[in-house]
């Protein structure tokens, strides 16, 4: 009896070894991919978290009647006001070149910030007020500790002169770091300290709405027709092959198509989320059709037979029984397609969504850009401060992706039925 279990022992051992070897290889592969994902997310987060805060400088602004015309605030030169404030705060600076450097301490937007505050709170007028101004990007980096002050002076953008001023401001408590709300509430800017993600985010959301509204109904209708109604013929094979080929077409080609047809022939507005969404819809359509067809195929044919056997028409059988069962798969496929569309840059470049957009788009025909394009634009900018903006924009993009995936899971759970 014992012979029965021991005779193959040697062979068995090597079989077990190969099995455990394979298991470990699998675990290693998963570990590697998860590790790289974690490293990527961590590094993006570490780079991007700086964009969540920004430095501000407090300056005592003379808002008495001598400088501001109380009856006509609009007429006041706020840029002069800011300039004078800075010169008075640092009276020892007299050299023209140094004075110009001093003006660069606050953001180019400082005069408008001051104007906005005064217009919003007229009670500030009449006395000397301490106003917080957004610091320029170099100061911002310094405040975040990202400027290496031990470098020789000629190798850094902040000279000893500015470091001296900053030192003075810090000592007097005139330098602080606040949550950078503007990053989420304003559009792009040439000044890194003012640049925000909102216009790109809204552009992306508008484009995706157009993309979904076009590609989802078209895609599932095409899939349902091809899978449930169309007779198998040479034509249906031809169409199937072509849909599969379309899914593999490089996305920039769809951009060219959009450029020549939507912009060139139809004359739709350039750079608009409408055209962007249409181009993305073209790109997403084959993905949705393929996923939806696979999902329809996985519905057991016994359900169709049951419905048709009762005298349901083909349409009733499809829409009452088959489609509800295929819906989770269709939705998942669509969201996967949409997620791909969200991350797409190339086709949008072709239709002009690469523009520098400061204003948040108000509608589908306004000029807009999209998140990945914004990432691309910022990554291309020379100012070092855009580095953290780039990473933060990527985080926003990833966040949107996660939201979409969660939506897919929730919808799938909601529609899922056993059969």
């Amino acid at each position: 009896m014992s012979d029965l279990f021991t005779s193959a022992e040697k062979h068995l051992k090597s079989r077990h070894r190969s099995e455990s070897r394979f298991r470990w290889m699998g675990r290693l592969a998963i570990g590697f991919s998860l590790g790289f994902l974690a490293i990527m997310l961590f590094s993006i987060f570490m780079l991007g978290k700086g964009a969540l805060s920004r430095a501000e400088i407090a300056l005592p602004v003379d808002l008495t009647a001598e400088t501001v015309d109380q009856s006509d605030i609009e007429a006041t030169s706020f840029s002069k006001l800011v300039r004078n404030t800075l010169f008075e705060t640092f009276p020892e600076v007299t050299d023209r070149g140094e004075r110009r450097r001093l003006l660069g301490v606050v953001s180019a937007d400082a005069q408008y910030e001051l104007k906005r505050q005064v217009l919003a709170n007229p009670e500030l007028l009449g006395q000397v007020q301490t106003i917080w101004f957004t610091a320029s990007d170099d100061i911002d980096l310094y405040a975040k500790g990202e400027v290496d002050v031990t470098l020789p002076e000629d190798q850094r953008r902040l000279k000893d002169l500015e470091l001296g001023w900053l030192n003075q401001l810090e000592v007097n408590g005139q330098l602080r770091s606040v949550f950078n709300k503007a990053f989420f509430t304003s559009g792009d800017s040439r000044e890194p300290e003012l640049a925000g993600i909102l216009s790109a985010l809204i552009g992306s959301i508008f484009s995706l709405m157009v993309c979904f509204a076009l590609s989802f109904p078209l895609g599932i209708m095409a899939a349902i027709y091809l899978e449930e109604f169309a007779k198998k013929s040479r034509w249906s094979d031809f169409i199937e092959v072509n849909i599969n080929n379309l899914a593999a077409v490089p996305s920039i080609v769809f951009g060219l198509l959009g450029l020549s047809i939507f912009l060139g022939v139809f004359g739709l507005p350039r750079s608009s989320p409408l055209v962007g969404g249409m181009v993305l819809a073209l790109m997403t359509l084959p993905t949705i059709i393929i996923a939806s067809r696979a999902s329809l195929r996985s519905v057991p044919s016994s359900i169709r037979e049951a419905a048709l056997g009762m005298g349901a028409t083909q349409v009733q059988s499809t829409f009452h029984h088959v489609m509800p069962l295929a819906m989770p798969g269709m939705l998942t496929g669509s969201i996967v397609g949409m997620a791909r569309a969200l991350g797409e840059t190339a086709p949008l470049l072709m239709i002009g969504m690469v523009a520098f957009i400061v204003d948040v788009p108000q509608g589908f025909t306004d000029a807009a850009t999209s998140l990945p394009v914004q990432v691309f634009l910022w990554a291309d900018s020379p100012e070092r401060s855009f580095l953290e903006k780039t990473s933060a924009a990527i985080l926003v993009l990833l966040g949107l992706l996660i939201v979409m995936n969660i939506a897919a899971i929730v919808l799938r759970k909601k529609f899922e039925r056993r059969y």
Binding site: K231, K232, P300, S302, I303, R304, E305, A306, A307, L308, G309, M310, G311, A312, T313, Q316, H320, H321, L325, R417, R418, Y419
Partner: protein
């Protein structure tokens, strides 16, 4: 031969692409009786069954020649609406296939799409009556809102029968209705078939000769696409005329 048959099939040929599956079948089906179609796998008995409610239309490459008349009307005529035909000729499949909906919705689906339900009380009445006829009422009366897929295999099959009779057909086709069930559930179904023949004409495809002998009054034996022999069940099993029938029922072929 049979007086006042409900179905008369004349010279029915069925092709799947180039392949001929049925060769000139001519068969009369008697009213309010159970007719069983027997034969080895691939003999064409299911194909013939599916020709009676035109389920074969769903197969792109399938082509039917000849005529099948139900109550004197050829169902392959151009003016015949398959939807109306299938309301008249119900079908129960090999594998129980309730919809992934509640028991109530399963039964009421057919009457609803055929516009037979006017009110909620109508619906309740149809559901109760159908489930009673299918012998399932007592078991599910208190859980009509639970999914039909949660029932046991035998119950599911009776639910499918209830669903079929809810549209008030005159003919019910059954494609090996008990082959996926255990012997006890099978016995329940067979009993039910015997009761149902009071009101319906039933045609049942079965692999089991014992089942054919138990439930049917007439039997037709198919072999390789031919209808070899048809007759009263008792006679066919006791004194088959054809050698192939004899070989099959004695277990030598099939």
């Amino acid at each position: 031969m049979i007086k006042n048959p409900i179905i008369t099939a004349r010279d029915v040929n069925v092709f799947y692409g180039q392949k001929q599956a049925l060769n000139g079948i001519t068969l009369d089906v008697p009213r309010n009786k159970v007719t069983s179609l027997i034969g080895p796998s691939g003999c064409g008995k299911s194909t013939f069954l599916r020709s009676i409610n035109r389920m074969n239309d769903l197969v792109d490459i399938c082509r039917v020649e000849g005529e099948i008349k139900i109550e004197g009307k050829n169902i392959y005529d151009k003016d015949v609406d398959v939807v109306a035909l299938r309301a008249h000729v119900g079908m129960v499949f090999q594998k129980p296939n309730p919809f992934p909906k509640s028991i109530f919705d399963n039964v009421i689906y057919g009457p609803k799409i055929h516009g037979m339900v006017k009110s909620k009380s109508d619906a309740e009445e149809i559901v109760e009556q159908s489930l009673r006829r299918a012998g399932l009422w007592k078991e599910v009366a208190d859980r009509l809102n639970e999914p039909g897929t949660g029932l046991s295999g035998g119950q599911q099959q009776r639910l499918c029968i209830a669903r079929a009779i809810a549209v008030k057909p005159s003919i019910i086709l059954m494609d090996e209705p008990a082959s996926a069930l255990d012997p006890i559930a099978t016995a329940v179904i067979e009993e039910l078939i015997d009761e149902l023949r009071q009101k319906y004409t039933i045609i049942i495809v079965t692999h089991s000769m014992q089942q054919a002998a138990r439930v049917s009054q007439r039997t037709a034996f198919f072999h390789m696409g031919d209808l070899v022999e048809a007759g009263a069940t008792k006679e066919l099993f006791t004194s088959p005329q054809d050698e192939r029938t004899q070989n099959y029922i004695s277990g030598r072929i099939g």
